[in-house]
């Protein structure tokens, strides 16, 4: 005999995420919510309000800042935290570079992978034992394997070959000293679910998710943004194109797509028709190696 609930699709996902958020807060001593200003973290923050208001959130917001942010994203991050009256902790990759725990191949090298180091340092400094993140299983084949409550050892490492069993919705959040959990309330959401939820809930996002003119250069299948850290090379043709970002990450590895979708409903229509996956269309960091995400996660990445 099987059982079902009558909730509609988005209501079901919303309620599950709220349930997970509350379990995460109840089962940890010192949690934090990863908030980058990107769309998934904006959705996660919105769900956290639904889970905990009228009280204040039982955790601070944490941003691991590569310092290579697109315009408007850090303002959005700061303004959002201030508007909600929630505490924001910013951990700078720049600080890790100064300390010597991160060494870059060149000053403009991608700081994306270095985020893991800064994140682990921040976990140690603040004593965080659980981090809530907006990652979804449909993003990547390694993420597709991850538990909702993802256990990390004392080095912050994910061990995909011996994950804890995770039965029904009975989450076991128990830890030994020094270990931590990464918890993903949006595990079962797809990109389309995120956008339809943003539309329904009228969740604010940084402008660069919507179509705008931007200087870009062609790089294989990508339009690479021209920015202070990713200038055009000698002789490269800089074009001004109508584009939007499908994901927002470090400037060195995130590319926009050509699009005239200027509002959420146009983005939803485009997402329905898209034949490229979200990361496939936008992320250079995953192209380097087939198992790029898995390797980063083993090193302590979100």
């Amino acid at each position: 005999m099987t059982f079902f609930s009558r909730l509609l699709h988005l209501d079901r996902l919303e309620s599950e995420a709220i349930y997970i958020l509350r379990e995460a807060a109840a089962q940890s001593r010192n949690p934090a919510l990863l908030f980058s200003g990107g769309k998934d973290s904006a959705v996660l923050l919105h769900l956290a309000l639904k889970a905990f208001r009228p009280e204040n959130l039982p955790f601070p917001l944490l941003h691991v800042d590569t310092g290579h942010n697109f315009e408007g994203v850090t303002q959005f991050r700061d303004e959002t935290a201030a508007r909600l009256g929630e505490r924001l902790v910013v951990a700078q990759v720049e600080e890790s570079i100064k300390r010597g725990s991160v060494r870059l191949a060149s000053p403009t090298a991608s700081r994306n992978a270095a985020q893991a180091v800064t994140l682990l340092e921040s976990i140690e400094t603040h004593g965080f034992d659980l981090l809530l993140g907006g990652a979804r299983r449909d993003e990547d084949k390694a993420r597709a394997k991850e538990r909702v409550f993802s256990h990390r050892d004392a080095f912050g490492a994910w061990n995909p070959k011996s994950q804890r069993p995770e039965l029904w919705d009975l989450y076991n959040g128990r830890l030994q000293e020094g270990e931590n959990f990464r918890v993903f309330p949006l595990s079962n959401w797809t990109e389309l679910d995120v956008w339809t939820y943003i539309e329904r809930e009228k969740i604010a996002l940084p402008d660069l998710y919507f179509a705008h003119i931007r200087p870009v250069v062609r790089d294989g299948a990508y339009w690479r943004p021209v920015t202070p850290v990713t200038p055009a090379a000698e002789g490269q043709l800089v074009e001004h194109r109508l584009v939007r970002f499908r994901t927002v990450g470090d400037m060195t590895c995130t590319c926009p797509i050509e699009s005239d979708a200027a509002d959420v409903s146009a983005i939803i229509a485009e997402t329905r028709l898209s034949t490229l996956s979200e990361r496939g269309a936008t992320r250079m960091d995953d192209k380097v190696n087939e198992a790029a995400m898995e390797r980063r996660k083993r090193e302590g990445y979100f």
Binding site: E14, A51, N188
Partner: protein, 423 residues
């Protein structure tokens, strides 16, 4: 977009290693146009691919870890999502190796239907493999609907005779487990015959394609029709320490419905009170039902806390229960040890008093006696708890009839449990 009423179907694969589970999931996603072109592209270049030139190794759609691809096996479950106009699917690919049974149990506990695959070409006189029996048993114990797929029919030239032999064995297995009228579908996961659409390869097969069968099952039982059950996740305090201070109880309704004015009862001692308000972030509701996350306010100070249970009073609590266990921990059961029993949000100290029987996976017989419970064992046990627990039977209410046992020293999840009776 307005929300449409889509049915949710959660599917897990099951069966022995190499019988084609991962390939089947890849095939379902591929033929349902649920793979993106860059993902297909990545498959065609993938290292360790077992496919011939120009072909795709569809098992890599879910076998996404480096070591899985290198070894050509599935180690842990992968979750993938796709939708047809009427149904949204979660497909969960599980590993076949005995060593990874706990991962299969993880996948099965999050599914409604299990597709148990059998390799038609590797059955000697119709004898099913141990893992086929083990997985069918687990799926059935966890309350899943079981659908059988007889795979690799190409390797036996779509022989109706071979299919009938396998079918006979599967029917015998079903009878011994108490599975009634299971669907049994001949398929070729690699080429897709009978997977998403019916194939001309087997003119003798009268049934529907596998995906049609998965899509068109009955709905089952509506959780909101069951008795009201609500595990408190969090106590909410409004206006802190003032006289007008109010305590609310946040949680997700496990089953049943609740309305303002309803009389409800807290915990095993059944302190009664009335619901005065049902709140969400931005709404005050008159009523709410199974699946909704809400905050409930009560008339009296009932002094309830996280882990306490609110019910409609139609309820049995017990100190001693019988339960089916799937043992998941590398460390075997130790009779003197206490385990934390987690049911809903409650954590209760418990002890396994006796092992009533362990299932023998060779012939599914029940072996009596007080053997040690070890990794991958499936057993019926008698449990004692320090304080009374809600004794809803798993088959009546899987939301409250399920629990896990946690080893308090290692923090490992030691077992998955299903309440079967009051002892």
């Amino acid at each position: 977009m307005t929300q449409t009423q889509t049915k949710l179907v959660r599917i897990v694969t099951a069966g022995s290693v190499d019988d084609g589970k991962s390939t089947l999931i890849g095939r379902i996603l591929h033929d349902s146009k649920a793979l993106m072109s860059d993902q297909v592209d990545a498959l065609s270049h993938a290292r360790f691919s077992r496919a011939e030139e120009g072909d795709l190794d569809l098992s890599f759609v879910t076998d996404g870890l480096e070591s899985e691809r290198e070894q050509g096996i599935t180690i842990d479950v992968a979750y993938r999502y796709f939708a047809t106009p009427q149904t949204s699917f979660i497909v969960i690919d599980a590993p076949g190796h005995e060593q990874y049974t706990r991962n299969m149990v993880t996948g099965a506990s999050n599914a409604d239907v299990a597709i148990v695959l059998v390799d038609a070409s590797r059955l000697h006189q119709g004898a099913l493999k141990v893992q086929t029996r083990r997985h069918a048993t687990i799926a059935h114990l966890l309350g899943l609907k079981v659908v059988f797929a007889v795979n690799k029919m190409d390797l036996v030239n779509w022989s109706q005779k071979v299919f009938q032999d396998v079918e006979e064995s599967l029917k015998r297995l079903s009878r011994s487990l108490g599975i009634t009228n299971p669907a049994i579908v001949p398929i070729n996961a690699r080429s897709g015959d009978n997977v998403v659409s019916k194939s001309p390869a087997a003119s003798w097969y009268q049934g529907a394609s596998l995906l049609d069968i998965l899509q068109n099952q009955g709905d089952g039982t509506d959780l909101s029709e069951l008795p009201f059950r609500f595990s408190i996740q969090r106590v909410v305090r409004i206006d802190g320490h003032t006289k007008a201070a109010q305590r609310g109880y946040a949680g997700r309704i496990a089953s049943g419905q609740v309305a303002v004015g309803d009389e409800i009862f807290v915990g095993p001692y059944r302190r009664p009170t009335k619901i005065t308000r049902i709140e969400t972030y931005d709404q005050s509701l008159d009523r709410a039902e199974a699946g909704q996350s809400v905050t409930l306010y009560t008339e009296d100070e009932v002094d309830a806390a996280r882990g306490d249970l609110l019910t409609n009073g139609n309820v049995a609590y017990a100190n001693r229960i019988t339960a089916d266990l799937c043992w998941l921990d590398d460390q075997a059961w130790e009779s003197r040890r206490r385990y934390i029993l987690q049911q809903g949000t409650a954590n209760i100290t418990s002890r396994i008093e006796s092992v009533l029987h362990i299932r023998d996976m060779q012939d599914l017989s029940e072996v009596r006696g007080d053997q040690a419970l070890k990794l991958n064992d499936i057993a019926l046990v008698q449990l004692q708890t320090q304080t009374p627990i809600l004794a809803d039977l798993f088959q009546d209410n899987p939301k409250t009839g399920a629990f896990i046992l946690i080893d308090p020293d290692t923090n490992q999840t030691a077992a998955a449990g299903m309440i079967r009776g009051v002892a």
